[in-house]
Amino acid sequence: MELILIFISAAIVNNFVLAYFLGICPFIGVSNKLSSAFPMGLATTFVMLLTAIVTWLIYHLILVPYDVVYLQYVSFILVVASLVQFVEMFIKKVSQPLYRALGIFLPLITTNCAILGLALFIVLKDYSFIQAVFYGLGAGAGFTLAISIMAGIREELELANVPKSFQGAPITLIVAGLLALAFMGFAGMISV
């Protein structure tokens, strides 16, 4: 039950994008079409899951025992970058169509602050291994949800008369603001 709550909390109540402002760059950059936003969300979720697992192991099996916690940022970001590289190579080998769909987004994920943010939050919240896994999955699901909703809305807005100076990033930010207002309804539902 606690694991499910952690999942829901990361996905909806404390949504990474709308409450913690993590992953805003792809959220604004790759949300203009659903056909690219959804795969981007899935790829991010996958990398988040791997990141949660690997960084948890590194932190608890290397950084803490050897008392080199000050290396956490350097090691975490290297892990994320190499994970992304690894996933890219793996997908390329296993499935060409999947690679064509996801390939271009993978490099972008390295600089997605939601990934590193996830690793840092897991340390900060002192999660156990299994909690970290669910937290990573929840964060990924939340990111996918937010970016898919945004993509649906932005496709709709292509037909709308948005004033010229507000097209692109400004209206996306305003939609995000209204979404954040709507998500406030979930505040206090779970306090994990």
């Binding site: 649906g152 709308a160 507000f166 209204l178 207002l181 309804g185 539902m189």
Partner: protein, 324 residues
């Protein structure tokens, strides 16, 4: 379900008519808008009866600032001024009816400016807004002035005015439930237009009979609340009953006047059912498990965001279109 295929050409100006595929063709956009205004009259009357004359000033402020904002922005953008279509008046009226009694006029005005300015005009005006403007304005006010907007005054007819909490807040924070009869007539604390179920129903039935509001959305919401709320109540009877869910707070007002807004609701029949059920699921979750006593506004706004996706997957494919 007759004329649901909305082509892009139709989408331009006639969106309002084409989105609701049933009886709407009988009325023009303008007529529809003024019908809605008419349907809100009982709620305005009940607000004044229960809470005093000042409430008329609050509602008027909301209307004037909503219409004024629309006119000013259209003037600045050098577009034709379309205030007379009545849609901004409706947004103002709705906003005025969902604020608490004796609400500050300056806050009301700010909410109306936000509702029209950000919630509607930035998206390109009538027909293009993603979120219900009145609810966007109300959500902004709730986030900006959380204390003022949850400070309730009891109707002056109320005999027992010890607790100033709304029935939902009384249930959530103090475990006190309220009987259905006062909820029905409006002898309880709450927002101006929502306290009297009977006034809301009067206007709502008028909209349903004339076909101005689509019956599917309120029906789906009611079914949803009975299923989700009732299910929880069967598991644990300390949770509110479905009847309470329906008559307390702004469920009826939201179902009849807010969720049925053409622009921010789905276009297909199936889409409307999904939308309505989604609203009631989120609503029950917020009311039962959330930190806030009421969730109608949030659940509708939340589902507004899904409407483009719902439309996309429920729209019948045009002949020969390949599934992407």
């Amino acid at each position: 379900m007759s004329s649901v295929t909305v082509t892009e050409a139709q989408n331009e100006r006639e969106l309002l008519l084409s989105t609701s595929p049933h009886l709407q063709s009988r009325w023009t956009t303008k007529q529809i808008m003024w019908f809605v205004v008419l349907a809100l009259v009982p709620s305005v009357v009940s607000a004044v009866l229960f809470f005093g004359f000042y409430q008329l000033v609050v509602i008027a402020t909301a209307v004037v600032f909503a219409a004024g904002t629309e006119a000013v922005i259209q003037y600045l953008l050098k577009k034709p001024i379309t205030v007379s279509d009545g849609s901004a008046v409706i947004t103002g009226l709705l906003l005025g009816l969902i604020v608490p009694p004796n609400f500050s006029l300056s806050f009301t005005a700010l909410g109306a400016v936000f509702a029209i300015g950000v919630g509607k005009m930035l998206f390109g005006g009538l027909g293009f807004n993603i979120f219900n403007p009145a609810l966007a304005g109300r959500a902004f006010l709730q986030a900006a002035f959380p204390v003022a907007i949850t400070t309730w005054t009891m109707p002056h007819w109320a005999v027992d005015s010890v607790s100033k909490a709304t029935p939902l807040a009384a249930l959530k924070f103090d475990g006190v439930s309220t009987a259905v009869a006062p909820l029905f007539f409006g002898n309880v604390g709450g927002s101006l237009g929502e306290t009297s179920a009977i006034a809301v129903l009067l206007g709502g039935i008028f909209l349903l009979v004339t076909g101005v509001a689509n019956w599917r959305i309120p029906a789906a919401m009611t079914v949803g609340v009975i299923v989700f709320g009732g299910g929880l109540w069967l598991i644990d009877s300390t949770y509110p009953t479905p009847i309470f869910h329906i008559f307390a707070g702004s469920f009826l007002f939201g179902a009849l006047f807010m969720a049925t807004d053409y622009v921010s609701s789905p276009v297909t029949g199936l889409g409307m059912w999904i939308y309505g059920l989604g609203i009631s699921l989120v609503l029950v979750l917020i009311r039962v498990f959330g930190g806030l006593p009421e969730g109608v506004m949030y659940s509708i706004l939340f589902m507004n965001a899904f409407v483009p996706l719902i439309d996309r997957y429920t729209r019948p494919r045009i002949f020969g279109e390949v599934k992407s």
